[in-house]
Symmetry: C2
Subunit: 337 residues, 2 copies
């Protein structure tokens, strides 16, 4: 590239925009030359249901231990499709660049997006790039939207949790949020905390193939963490969910960082975690299957559906007490994703 | 709402986020309560092709004569789907709100989005809201992505223009861009310039139904204007396109504003315009059909495909000369959409 930073003209729709697309964005993302592109991508499809989701990513900082805003944006949308029980099929990307962003940083982000998409087996098929003046954005915001197709008839959803079901997670909690916060606050630990950002669609596909209708709920506990997600599910399904504090998988580094910052890992964001609620009689088998996947090595049962109600989430403490968990009230962790 | 402005906590994913969704965003946009919502929308669908598109909107100012960023975001994505020959089906919305945005302004924008979606006959089915601190965004950015279905076999595309074809537009050019710029620069005219922002999908559906394969290209001349869009098509189709200056429909107010600001309306953005390239023998009938629609009252032929080449666009001037038109080079009009 002739210019080393993003200029306002890169967002004009004219020659500079085409250069940015042709020289940097397209080669790194899709490989489909601009002269073959129209206003919308047209894709072959099969089936009679479609999953559709969107997320914008405004994480600060844009580079953090274990990842960056680019792979985060792909993984997040891939996972949202997987949580609907769909096979992620195609992704759109919308960039809002701040004038002055280094093109080298943009290229790193694009490369991470491409790798994440390849790993998840989805295609980036359409996109858009806008530029805002210095001080009217913050380096880069990315929207990814996604469509998914269905390969089976299984219908999962937040309202399908039933009394007796078990709550399972595929690994330790709070890693993404604490990676971001440690990085933002300049905290250093002996073992650095890395984001858990990854796609879990292959894991979900295997679960649904193996256990079908015994899988009731799939959800990724991102913003607001496991607590907020379980609270949402409890309200949707009108049930109580009870966890044991000692069953919650938290790494020592994340626990230490949470202690320093006064946070509860239950409320801290994850980006490669899958919460699933399944029939009790398959729960152990689900955990065993998950552990065979690299994405599910730390899988374990963390709770169960303990009754019908308007939706309550409880944690049994190590010393035998019980506390009620509410949603994150709101001020804790801005721009975590 | 208890709070009159957007707070950082509204983006946390917790209680405040849910309040913003439940009290303001959901009632104004979709009407589907949050407790029925999962990570992705699941929609019934038909057909074997899917259109998929995305656009982010960062227009400044967010309110302007004839519209605001909200209806612009819906119309733009509806039109991109229509340009692929698809019937717009479902839209996602991703908000990036700056801390401090007034909730009253947000509500006005949401209401405009809903109206625009209803007018175009599309559903808003999934969404996401993020909040960035003051000075890290600019009031509101909106991403809309859309999926469209196909009701026919007609395949249109920028590479299908053929020698002899006629170039048709549904009305005057440059209105959106000059509405934004006049508003930004504080220019006042006797007749205020309003945006042309509107959805043209109904017009497109009628065209395709009536003229089928005789419709070769559909494109909306947004950023970069008619000139940039025709240049793109000329390169995609490897043809020359020739327009007559005197055939270009420009309102006196837009021409006056362009003269003051030193702009050429051919390069100014439109948001409710449809460029179509059709077989010569149906061109007059296409114009006649368009003029029956409120969206096509000003329809006219503005040029034709005059030869094969690597892609050149020419304008014949009133006094008989000919100038070659290149793409907007890039600095002219930031944040026009």
């Amino acid at each position: 590239m002739n210019n080393e930073i993003v200029l306002l003209g890169h967002g004009s729709g004219g020659k500079l925009s085409h250069q940015l697309l042709d020289d940097l964005i397209i080669p790194n993302l899709s490989g489909v030359p601009t002269e073959d592109q129209d206003d919308a991508a047209v894709l072959p499809m099969t089936g009679d249901r479609l999953a559709f989701t969107t997320d914008s990513y405004v994480v600060d900082p844009i580079f953090f231990p274990g990842g960056n805003i680019g792979d985060l944006a792909i993984n997040g949308t891939v996972n949202d499709l997987a949580m609907a029980g769909a096979k992620p099929y195609a992704i759109s990307v919308g960039f809002i660049l701040e004038e002055g962003l280094s093109l080298a940083d943009l290229e790193k982000i694009l490369q991470s997006m491409k790798q994440a998409a390849e790993k998840a087996g989805v295609r980036i098929v359409t996109g858009d790039t806008k530029v805002v003046p210095r001080g009217k954005g913050d380096k880069i915001f990315i929207n990814t939207s996604g469509v998914g197709l269905f390969e089976h008839e299984v219908k999962v959803g937040g309202s399908k949790a039933a009394v007796g079901d078990k709550v399972i997670i595929n690994g330790s909690i709070g890693d993404h949020g604490m990676a971001i916060l440690s990085s933002r606050e300049g905290l250093e630990f002996e073992a650095p905390i890395e984001t858990d950002s990854m796609s879990v669609n292959a894991l979900v596909a295997d679960l649904l193939k193996e256990f079908g209708d015994a899988v009731h709920v799939l959800r990724d506990p991102t913003r607001g963490g496991v607590a907020t997600t379980l609270k949402e599910i409890s309200v949707q399904s009108k049930v109580d969910i009870t966890m044991k504090q000692t069953d919650l998988p938290v790494t020592p580094a994340v626990q230490a960082a949470c202690d320093i910052l006064g946070l509860d890992p239950l409320f801290v964001a994850n980006e490669g975690k899958l919460l699933t609620i399944v029939k009790a009689d398959v729960a152990e088998a689900v955990v065993a299957l998950m552990r065979k996947h690299p994405e599910g090595e730390g899988a374990c049962i963390i709770g169960e559906i303990t009754g019908e109600s308007e939706g309550k989430v409880y944690v049994q403490t190590a010393i035998g007490g019980r506390r009620s968990v509410e949603m994150l009230s709101g001020e804790q962790l801005p721009r975590i994703c």
